[in-house]
């Protein structure tokens, strides 16, 4: 057999321009991937190297943040951890349901109506508003009348999260195939039923991970909190009254001090914040996996 077919078919990629292009593109992708890893790696390595020594159980739970001149092993950042969780948590409670409802309206109900296009447009504009402007906005309409509070911080974080939640939820709802909606309508479901029992359950994995990404993003925001919570040194268990504190603003105030104790506290707080974001990401993955038991 082989003797009668002296020319075996060459199935390799032909040499020349096509092969060169392919190799160049592959190389370029690896290069950009490695470039991307460099800042990420530096940030993680630096924060862990400098922050790990400051971290202790006492650092995470002791409620009184000491004056800047004292070393990092005195007192702790407990107040800021509680403040961050409270403020970000309440912001999430406000922004996530509102954002999901907004996305449901745009995608399921609004269609091409002017209101739907207006909401969509404004949420895109809102994404581009600098976070410090959100802080000033809340300062003007809330803090000037009712004083500093964790609640004011929650408001400004919620303003930041809202467009992210709307956009990510909208993209997820858009991915729900129309034939699933039709199947539900054909069984005599109303629009609300279709949305609640088919569209949202199908998109829930993506919506949840989008919402958790928004939380992680908001937890690290500093600028919107500067004008709204004032950043004090003691635990404030009341979210609604009195000045509060948060990890991100503590990083800012401590890192701008010349004292080594303050600098160590800033690194420790940074590591704590990254850890909180990391835990949220893991939760997001688990939740997504849990909801996608019946993937498409």
């Amino acid at each position: 057999m082989t003797a009668t077919t002296p020319h075996q078919v060459d199935l390799r990629e032909p040499s020349g321009w096509r092969r060169a292009k392919n190799q160049f593109a592959t190389g370029a992708m690896w290069f950009t991937f490695l470039c991307l890893l460099v800042p990420l790696g530096f940030v993680l390595v630096t924060v862990i190297a400098k922050g790990a020594s400051a971290i202790s159980w006492q650092f995470l739970t002791n409620g009184t943040i000491p004056p800047n001149i004292l070393p990092a092993n005195v007192g702790g950042m407990g107040a800021a951890v509680i403040g961050t969780l409270e403020i970000t948590g309440f912001a999430a409670v406000m922004a996530i349901p509102l954002g999901i409802l907004g996305a449901v309206y745009i995608n399921e109900y609004g269609g091409n109506r002017p209101l739907s296009r207006l909401i969509s447009f404004l949420s895109d504009v809102m994404t581009g508003v600098p976070s410090i402007v959100m802080g000033l906005f809340v300062f003007t309409i809330w803090v000037l009348h009712f004083g500093y509070s964790g609640l004011a911080g929650s408001f400004s974080l919620a303003c930041l999260m809202l467009p992210i939640v709307i956009r990510s939820s909208y993209e997820m709802l858009r991915l729900v195939p129309n034939h699933l909606r039709e199947a539900s309508y054909a069984l005599g479901a109303t629009k609300a039923r279709v949305t609640l029992t088919v569209v949202l359950p199908t998109a829930v994995g993506g919506i949840v991970s989008g919402a958790l990404l928004a939380i992680a993003r908001a937890a690290g925001e500093t600028a919107p909190l500067i004008f709204t919570i004032l950043t004090v040194e003691a635990t404030n268990p009341d979210l609604f009254h009195g000045a509060d504190t948060a990890l991100s603003t503590q990083i800012f105030t401590n890192a701008t001090q010349p004292y080594t104790g303050a600098t160590d506290r800033a690194w420790g707080s940074a590591l704590t914040l990254i850890a909180i974001a990391f835990i949220l990401m893991i939760v997001a993955r688990l939740v997504t996996a849990r909801f996608n038991r019946y993937p498409r």
Binding site: G111, P177, L180, R181, A183, L187, G188, A189, T190
Partner: protein, 292 residues
């Protein structure tokens, strides 16, 4: 010219499709109650007139097949029967369409209430991303059935009705998306009959299936005829002769002057008559395979 064509028709029907005899005998009796009465219906999508002036009756406990080439409006008419076209922005209907003497498009008629009586199976199997059980229980649940024992009973009865029970009874909790194409389509049929509709509309239910799965679905359609009225759109003319009692042939009417196309109903009647003795030359051309 006409004579040889006639021979071809008879040959096709009598030798290759032995089932036709039995199907036609069943319907040669006088038709039963009229379920749908479509008269002078035109359907528009925005400015586009998809279907022009369709009139036909559909009878109880029969399988009515809509055949015709693409763009002839057969799916559009089918989807008008349970108001699925309402979901298409800009869709509009002129003329009257009644269901058991009630005007389907009358004032105060709820599309939701219509669809609870008139179910639909789609071209592409579209199970929900839920378990097999939840797929079938979906319809009863949205209609307020919460009783676990009742739901179990409905799920089993519906899956048996769709000839799927034996294949899935040990894995009701598994995803409906894990089924093969033919099984998924029978799951969709089970889901449709779980709400005990009066009519089942089918939009090319077997066109995405292999021949064996197609036969399974066709057997099922013949079974379902005992309890339901079925209207089926099909591109497969042999399928129409195998399963339907009555056939309606749709065609595209092209207006070269204004460059518009619209679907029209050319002819309808008992399936055997449409395939063996069509009255219109367009029907004859289509069923003998000269066009389409």
């Amino acid at each position: 010219m006409e004579q040889p064509e006639q021979d071809v028709v008879e040959q096709t029907v009598s030798t290759r499709l032995p089932r036709l005899e039995t199907t036609v005998k069943a319907s040669s009796t006088t038709p039963g109650t009229t379920i749908f009465d479509v008269s002078n219906v035109s359907i528009y999508y925005g400015a586009f007139k998809a279907v022009t002036d369709v009139s036909l009756p559909i009878y109880e406990h029969e399988v009515t097949a809509f055949i015709g080439s693409s763009g002839s409006g057969k799916s559009t008419v089918l989807r008008a029967l349970n108001r699925m076209n309402d979901l298409v922005p800009g869709a509009r209907l002129e003329g009257t369409m009644t269901y058991r003497d009630a005007d389907l498009y009358g004032r105060g008629v709820s599309a939701t209430a219509v669809r609870r009586r008139i179910g639909m199976v789609f071209q592409k199997p579209n199970p929900f991303p839920k378990s097999i059980y939840d797929n079938v229980a979906y319809g009863p649940r949205i209609n307020g059935q919460r009783n676990k024992a009742k739901l179990d009973e409905i799920v089993e009865r519906s899956l048996r009705g769709a000839a799927l029970w034996d294949e899935v009874k040990n894995r009701l909790r598994q995803s409906g998306l894990a089924l093969s194409g033919g099984q998924a389509q029978r799951l969709c049929i089970a889901r449709t009959i779980a709400v005990e509709p009066d009519v089942v509309l089918m939009d090319e239910p077997a066109s995405a299936l292999d021949p064996i799965a197609t036969l399974a679905v066709e057997d099922l359609i013949r079974e379902l005829k005992q309890n339901y009225t079925i209207v089926i759109v099909t591109h497969n003319m042999q399928q129409a002769t195998r399963i339907s009692d009555r056939t309606a042939f749709f065609s595209v009417l092209t207006d070269a002057k204004n460059d518009t196309r619209t679907g029209v109903l050319v002819e309808h009647g008992p399936t055997q008559q449409i395939f063996e003795d069509p009255q219109d030359s367009r029907t004859q051309a289509y069923v003998t395979g000269r066009i389409g």
